[in-house]
Symmetry: C2
Subunit: 448 residues, 2 copies
């Protein structure tokens, strides 16, 4: 078979690349090769354990892409022969390509500790069959220990606390979500988790997983304490899937991701890589980063997909910005760019702008939530380096305002006089708009 | 009395100016002179007729400003003697100033039609006593006619439909909210209003208000039809309060607002003006505009307040962007910049990017709303001219993303590859983020 554009992998990055490629190159044939006929929305996976009624409710339909003219082949690529621009497959005949996009994603990192293979120990892989298989296992657990308090660990703990008796969340660093939030900002989220019955333990290291008759029975901490457990979730990060890329000779980075340039071109002509399998670079420092986000992958996928044949959509940012959000019902959390801790570690001089308010005006309107914001600006130039918000249901879009402000290198004085709209039921008040007030508090400090 | 900084008017613009001035000039004495001891949050006024339990729930406290060291005087300024930098007051001794900020706001425009003075005819003035006085009048009405379907008219109609039998909304143009939304976008909002029982009539002109014994009994339309009414709300716009400014000789613009420069300096030294009493200029055309928004006023207030003694916070946008949002419960609406109609009238060549999606992912999560977006880009350069969103509760902050994109002169290709965060419960999906998809649909059209 011959296709002009071939994408290996069909999750957020691969699917988005296919659609972007087809939209901009309508006359080119586009094929997505992926292992699964049906695949899950990865960020929705935690909600298949509580909020959603069926795992199937979280399947991402491929019909819109098909309707656009993207073809799908359910198969596994065995090798990429870049000299011949040819792919060999497990079950199908060879396929040639003009342009190849690798979007093979990532898989959970399993720490090399004793007991990691006991029955009842799971990690959150993203394929449908696996999630289907662990769903009844987790739902039938009485004592669940979640190891790692990143986004997946926090969301899984919170969802499982709705259906399980005892959920413990263990984190080696000094607070939950330590890569996205400074400790001073995350306290309200910690309190909500505790209120939901999650036993959160920070500054806590796991020594090993213990078991009986091949089944997990608990977790032994470095302190010697044992937490009883019949189910363990390992959520301490993901690693790029790069076996295909490695075999074909693509350059691999220090964190094990595929090295690309600004247009997601790899070290071999006409091969691109997007999403979790790529080694990203930080927006501010240009250092390699371990960032893995579906939204980052989708953004890269559009850059690659639209620029396959000529560079028509010029990239103006030279690196990836971590922009996260999540929710624990009562409160939602958003973060963009560097935390104060990271800014300090990277050697930035900075000033902090803060504001505490509410997300409606007047505050007595229904569904009003507190809204706490922290902005980190470089000292001197006053450029926005990072933002953290604890708020209500608008937090996810508010952090996108600040993500955009980072992309545009906006400064504290600019944000202090930015134009915005307000409405009683939808936002904070005109005089109290929190982004602006936090920026103004930074301007005050820049003052003299 | 002597004060260094004096602000006349203490609503969103005046209050914000006082706080900004005091924050940046801590050593200066700051006084706000206003007529009311307690004042309402203006945008919250429609909600005092339905959603809020008490009018008092919508009072804006002056305590935070007082705590910062801003003084308040409840009185009325009679004249500004700019030569002597002196204010004369109704009940107090004269006050001298170094810097004066005029924030006298606006009042409803009462159209010169027959019957406008009948009992039962009201307009939405923003002072507490007036709103207190009309609240029982409107609540006791059986048949209410609202004239003018701008934001106030739409919000009032929707709120009153919760407590009154018959509410009619009359608009002379061909759709509701005609200055903020194109007709093709506003249909879902119109449907919600109709569903809430509001009798919406567009393309409809009022001839006169008719009455019996000095009390309103109906509205006669230009067609001859009479709509029965015991209460009429006139909501067809506001006019700047400029009697003080005029008397003191300040230059007034073509729409009756005070003329200022980019730093809100008036035609007389050391006198500034901010908010509804100012004649704004459009961001794109620099033409004078009738725009009146509390958020616009607050933004100007910060520019003026921080720059009173030296220009330390440089303004980088050279005009005002209309950024609106509102909600009808089931759906919310946001608009920023120019509509398609306005862009056409101003002579822009443009392309339209659209997307229809939902605001959560997967769509089967609770509280998922449709999310429809329309972006207007200039043809050629591809600069974002305007945006309209019909969506859920995040619409107010999403339109602020696009308001910021307008301020930063962002283009369709830039928005098509922007970085953003997504989360199942808080936003659309990574592959379906609507701003990006609408921008990409514009890029497609720019393509060849």
């Amino acid at each position: 078979m011959n296709y002009e554009i071939v994408i290996i992998g069909g999750n957020p990055a691969g699917g988005t690349a296919a659609i972007a490629a087809k939209k901009i190159h309508e006359d080119k044939s586009v094929l997505v090769i992926r292992k699964e006929a049906e695949s899950l929305i990865p960020c929705g996976i935690p909600y298949t354990f509580g909020t959603l009624n069926n795992i199937e409710d979280n399947i991402k339909s491929i019909e819109p892409a098909k309707k656009m003219g993207v073809d799908f082949l359910i198969d596994e690529v065995i090798s990429i022969k870049s000299d011949e621009k040819l792919l060999t497959l497990k079950n199908s005949e060879d396929i040639t390509y003009e342009k190849l996009i690798i979007a093979t994603g990532s898989q959970p990192f399993i720490p090399p500790i004793e007991g990691n293979d006991l029955e009842g120990v799971v990690a959150i892989r993203k394929d449908l069959e696996y999630i289907k298989s662990i769903n009844p296992i987790l739902r039938s657990g009485q004592n669940i220990v979640v190891v790692g308090a990143g986004f997946i660990g926090v969301e899984m703990s919170d969802e499982l606390s709705k259906i399980c008796d005892n959920v413990s969340l263990i984190e080696s660093m000094d607070s939950i979500l330590p890569l996205a939030f400074d400790k001073d900002m995350i306290t309200p989220a910690l309190e909500v988790l505790l209120k939901h019955g999650v036993d959160v333990r920070t500054n806590t290291m796991v020594d090993k997983i213990i078991g009986e008759n091949g089944k997990v029975s608990g977790v032994k901490l470095k302190t010697g304490e044992v937490i009883k457990a019949d189910r363990i979730i390992l959520s301490i990060g993901y690693r790029p899937n790069i076996s295909l890329a490695k075999k074909c000779g693509l350059e691999i980075g220090i964190y094990g991701g595929i090295v690309t340039d600004e247009y997601l071109r790899t070290s071999i002509d006409d091969i691109y890589a997007v999403g979790d399998c790529v080694e990203h670079r930080d927006f501010f420092t240009r250092k390699q980063s371990k960032l893995m986000l579906a939204s980052t992958g989708a953004s890269e996928a559009r850059i690659a997909g639209m620029n396959l044949y000529d560079l028509r959509v010029i990239r103006q940012t030279k690196g990836s910005i971590a922009i996260f959000s999540t929710t624990l019902n009562e409160i939602s959390l958003g973060a963009a760019g560097l935390t104060e801790k990271q800014a300090k570690a990277e050697g930035f001089r900075f000033i902090i702008g803060r504001n505490t308010g509410v997300d409606h005006h007047p505050a007595l309107l229904p569904n009003t939530s507190p809204q706490i914001i922290k902005l980190i600006f470089s000292k001197g130039a006053g450029v926005l380096l990072g933002a953290q918000i604890i708020g209500g249901s608008t937090t996810g879009e508010m952090i996108n305002i600040l993500g955009l402000a980072i992309q545009k290198n906006m400064t504290a004085p600019e944000l202090a006089i930015m134009q915005y709209g307000t409405q009683p039921m939808l936002t904070a008040g005109p005089g109290n708009y929190p982004i602006v007030l936090a920026a103004m508090s930074a301007v005050q400090q820049m003052g003299n």
